[in-house]
Symmetry: C5
Amino acid sequence: MFKTRHPLPGTAPATLTPLDEGEGFQPVIHLIEYSVEGVTERVVQTVEELPELGISDGKTRWIEFNGLADIPKLEELGKKYNLHPLALEDVVHTGQRPKADAYEDQLFLVAQMVYRDENDRLCGEQVSMFLFKGLLITIQEDDQRDVFDPVRERVRVGRGWIRKLGPDYLAYALIDSIIDHCFPILECLGEALEELEDELLDRPNKACVGRLHEFRRTLVQLRRVIWPERDLINSLLHDESGLVSKQSKVFLRDAYDHAIRIMDLIESYRDIAAGLLELYLSAVSQRTNEIMRVLTVISAIFIPLTFVAGLYGMNFKYMPELEQPYGYFVCLAVMIAIAAFQIAFFKRKGWL
Amino acid sequence: MFKTRHPLPGTAPATLTPLDEGEGFQPVIHLIEYSVEGVTERVVQTVEELPELGISDGKTRWIEFNGLADIPKLEELGKKYNLHPLALEDVVHTGQRPKADAYEDQLFLVAQMVYRDENDRLCGEQVSMFLFKGLLITIQEDDQRDVFDPVRERVRVGRGWIRKLGPDYLAYALIDSIIDHCFPILECLGEALEELEDELLDRPNKACVGRLHEFRRTLVQLRRVIWPERDLINSLLHDESGLVSKQSKVFLRDAYDHAIRIMDLIESYRDIAAGLLELYLSAVSQRTNEIMRVLTVISAIFIPLTFVAGLYGMNFKYMPELEQPYGYFVCLAVMIAIAAFQIAFFKRKGWL
Amino acid sequence: MFKTRHPLPGTAPATLTPLDEGEGFQPVIHLIEYSVEGVTERVVQTVEELPELGISDGKTRWIEFNGLADIPKLEELGKKYNLHPLALEDVVHTGQRPKADAYEDQLFLVAQMVYRDENDRLCGEQVSMFLFKGLLITIQEDDQRDVFDPVRERVRVGRGWIRKLGPDYLAYALIDSIIDHCFPILECLGEALEELEDELLDRPNKACVGRLHEFRRTLVQLRRVIWPERDLINSLLHDESGLVSKQSKVFLRDAYDHAIRIMDLIESYRDIAAGLLELYLSAVSQRTNEIMRVLTVISAIFIPLTFVAGLYGMNFKYMPELEQPYGYFVCLAVMIAIAAFQIAFFKRKGWL
Amino acid sequence: MFKTRHPLPGTAPATLTPLDEGEGFQPVIHLIEYSVEGVTERVVQTVEELPELGISDGKTRWIEFNGLADIPKLEELGKKYNLHPLALEDVVHTGQRPKADAYEDQLFLVAQMVYRDENDRLCGEQVSMFLFKGLLITIQEDDQRDVFDPVRERVRVGRGWIRKLGPDYLAYALIDSIIDHCFPILECLGEALEELEDELLDRPNKACVGRLHEFRRTLVQLRRVIWPERDLINSLLHDESGLVSKQSKVFLRDAYDHAIRIMDLIESYRDIAAGLLELYLSAVSQRTNEIMRVLTVISAIFIPLTFVAGLYGMNFKYMPELEQPYGYFVCLAVMIAIAAFQIAFFKRKGWL
Amino acid sequence: MFKTRHPLPGTAPATLTPLDEGEGFQPVIHLIEYSVEGVTERVVQTVEELPELGISDGKTRWIEFNGLADIPKLEELGKKYNLHPLALEDVVHTGQRPKADAYEDQLFLVAQMVYRDENDRLCGEQVSMFLFKGLLITIQEDDQRDVFDPVRERVRVGRGWIRKLGPDYLAYALIDSIIDHCFPILECLGEALEELEDELLDRPNKACVGRLHEFRRTLVQLRRVIWPERDLINSLLHDESGLVSKQSKVFLRDAYDHAIRIMDLIESYRDIAAGLLELYLSAVSQRTNEIMRVLTVISAIFIPLTFVAGLYGMNFKYMPELEQPYGYFVCLAVMIAIAAFQIAFFKRKGWL
């Protein structure tokens, strides 16, 4: 689910390993400038065209740099905005643990967004953010799918606080969007879990177990992503760099609550899923037991009878019983008696 | 058990998503005013009729707003009392984690109450509270069932401290009522657990396992609700806003103790329930073992005998044994010897 | 093991719910006054006869109030000594978690004592203590069985420090007696565990599992009582009300050590008991395996032979083998060969 | 492994319960006096002969009091050196949790040493130490076996720091010796674990499980001893009584590291041992499965054939097949076809 | 994987136990001196040739001492650079827990590097470092394989910060190299895990379990090494000796992140691997169940039929059915009816 790129062991720190040929997407740069008055939005071709750092015209600028295939362009961006080289390295080595690192004049955030792709599979994508005074730079792996459209819409329409507060609120809005997109995913998982539960209780079968394992695996992965995301929000809440305003912190506390609710749900699902496997194991044991019981009862009744039948099927010259006129009927009666006794025995044992 | 509503991912924070058509209940507003001298209680139709904030006539006011279907009315309430928009959002998005959020002049509390409905099923309902100086606003999902009747009765009758202390004591009384209603529920669960235990030890069967799973699931859910409720009380205990008086804190410490006792019970039940499943698995293994033993003993005794019988049932022209006058009896004797030997063998193995 | 009474949900806090008719014991009040010089001890009929609070004649007074059936008498006691109403509520609602609550001039302690009754079953009984300057009030559920006789004896005889130090030392002596009475109980449990262990390794049987489950259940309950008792002692050790003298704290540290040793033992037993169930499961699996092996070997050898015998028992008109003079002996030889081959095969597999 | 003696419940604290007749060893007292210049060493008969406390001649004195059977002698020792009565009680009640208690002018340490006795079984023995300025008293359960010979040798020979530093270094050297003696024991356990592992993977058998259980039990016990020993060293490291010099603390940090390494090893072994039991269970399941497969294949092939044979062994007057000249051969062909079909079926299922 | 040497119990601390004959490698000493201007690098034969401590010519010196077989040489090194004797002991007793110990003018670091040897097996090797002002001494177990070549290359080429910052950065670079070399190892493990997963879901077999156990064992060992390595970096991050510069700490924070990511991966793998064993157990149970079902169905159908056949194979003189002209056909019909009934029964049970 989460593609991880890690530094080549031994390379100098802050080396930007280029992606393999064909891997990754060519970057597309969007520039959105907004204030309470209005919004302008455009696609920018080169890094040079981007506005300088430190313009204090009251506008908030959001630079979206989506696509990691063009390392030199990324380096250019890094040079222009003085992005910390170690942070840039983390941008390129996707699959980072969500975290917030404070550098001198910038706050570097890494988050992992989780969404369903067109085939309804869970995907993860790393979103890196650099928060400056008046400016937010976000860097995604590609320009196609993300969970930020509602935020962009809010910026355009000017609904709520978004155009009144600065880039820290924008960063909050993006993180909140990432967190909130986990709710429908967890809802789906919850439904899948209930289906599995019903199936396992009604007719336990092999396919369930595979799906259950898949389910647990997904939970392990989600947990690995959400847990540090909670820490990320927490360190923003206790940020002392002055880049996160007090107003935004009220909202971040809300996002923090959401993250905890998601963790709670994940933990509950883990508990229940662990119980389900035990349920399945007990169901299989139970069924084996039942099958054995049928086999045992039938075998135990007929094997002795078959022996008696075999006994009188022997061809000895002199077998007195065979000569008796009622021998056959006596024999039948004995057989019925044996069977009746055994049935009574198994009834008492509760096996019938 | 707990219906959860979460924000539509991407909507601006503090958006009050209206409930679906037909979902939820129309709000009913109760106003209870009381002081040591007396009580007045009435149903109010519009928000306008409600008293303003900040009347200092020594009376305590309790506004019950029960029902979430009318979002505009709720917004009106929010405007009148300056309820924080993020808090109002949490009111509407039921299924919140219990928590206490301090805003400037108000304390926002969310609790989850657990009770049995008319069909004896466990239900959860969110209770939101806004605590002001002299005023408590509570918002429930519906106006029909709750666990607060004894508290209302105490207000009416004036028993105990309730009319002597302010809205913080009222909030304590409501939370305490929520916590204490868990005791009979846990008592029921405890009895169910003991029944399950007896059944599993006496006659382990498939239905038990389903009930055991249901039981554990309920515990997981209860735990998810009670655990943060404990934290809620704890943060009230350490409240520094001045809205919670020192006298009320003594009582809250008592409620805190109750919450811990409930957590303790839940944890014990979880431990015991986990042990029960292992017990069941071992019982099934044991029974399979027993069944196999019966099958094996019967098969092992009769299969060789049947073979011997089959042997002398063969139709070969020349079989010397068949011609012997005592052949049949010798054969019978051999069979009895074989059976006796095997029975002795199984006796020694302890399988008989 | 521990009878729990909880408040009726919704009743005002500090309500003393009367016990059901016939439940509980009528209170018996003992008054013991002692100093280094001597002891006087008597049974007191009414609360009025009890000495007032705050007599400073250097004597230590110990009031034992044993029996909870007479709520009005208890309320009278509460009024006389100004016992906190919430504390009194906890006295009546037995089954409290051990704890220490500090009120203005008094320290309220709840402990759970564990002992074996005449039928050798584990029982729990709540002991509540109110510690004042110069006075200790203890309240038990009944007057018959407790673990305090040796302490009373030490007071009478004046052995050790007990008459030299005040009521805080007396409280320590009682708590220490409660803790130390767990050692022989744990010793018994340890022996039971070793017996179970031997039995499970030698001849695993169904009854063991029930006893093992009982054992684990007892450990869960003991742990639930001892763990907070440790916290109780700890909060006495760090008491700042001045009611616990420095000398007594040295002794309390010793009691604290004992409590930790008991927790250590309980945890070890839990670990070993968990291992025992796994041991049992593996033993049952192993035995099933062995039984199956016997069944399989016998069936696999004789079923083909029986088939061969059946084959030549057929009544077809023309079966050339039957006519051969040595047909029978050839057939026997083939059977022996088949059996020998199979035995060799199973030997190689290690199943024989 | 560890014999535990606990106080008789209810006895006054600091009571020295005498050992049972024949239990314990008569004490032997060694006195070793050393300084950088030299060593004198002798066995002392009575406590009176021992040097007084507080001689400041620059010598370090080590009193070994080995054997607990003579309580009066121990009390005499306690009186002479003003040993704290509660500490003395812990000396006699062996099986204490390792700990460090600070009293006014003395530091009381309890450690548990683990060693193999002559029969190669693990044994535990309690070592109690009283650390004074210039004097160390150690009290062991007996005078015969311990792990301190190398330390005594170092004192005699004067190798390393031991004669240059005071009794705190001596205490460190003893504790270090206790800790380091766990390494070879853990090495043995590690080898035993690897053997078990190989055996369980190759030929899982019943005896393994017993040994595995024994192994895990030993780990539980070792862990119960080592864990608090680590705390003991830690509290020496943070000692503020001035009895432990800064130089000795550097060495204690080293011993602390060793204790952590041992805990690490124990935890790893526990993890691996838990995995081994699962391995065994899966191996037994797997074998049962295999056995069942053989049984099923053989039964499934021959039971239908035997039925066919039985069919034509019936003695009905009119059975047309029996009269056919080639009936027998057709019948044989049908049987071979049935068998072939079944073998193919089982081959496809992968059971053959 | 990790060879552990521990001190002989009882030897004086800081004793350098010589390695066994033939064990260990003869030391090779490399001296690398570099500054921004340039690098010199040479192999040094004797310790005497090495530069003194405390030369302040702005150069950074890196002494590599690889091989532990020559204890006197090591002691010489220790004397020359005043290495702490306890630290030197840890150098020789390989298999130490990674840690950082601060001595007066030096920082002693122990790390464990993990790499694959030529046969692709995981190996561990201890790297000890002494960090001084301007000097770093590293001591490895042998001179042949390590993970530091890229670092040496960076020093030679002067890429990045390495020649601009001092020996603390060099130490960071080495530790970072050790940490980063875990990524490809974990990647391999991840692939192995996925393979195992596929195999267990498709065709569970015995060999998987052995490999799974091996896998989990490796994780336990890796975790034991990486966990304290994280602490090692953390204590460098909070170093207060002044030997670690602020610039290097920024980089160390990065290495710390990497260590946490590795721990995260290890934990995820552990979770998934634990799930896999359960998966395997359930698959084996499921298969046993399936096999039993086949056996039971076949046995249950044919055993009664065989009995009927045997019945009419009896040789009683007077058996009326045998005389009937259509007896045989009626008998066949009855048999078919029995079989049909049973098949229907098993179909309804879902066993067919």
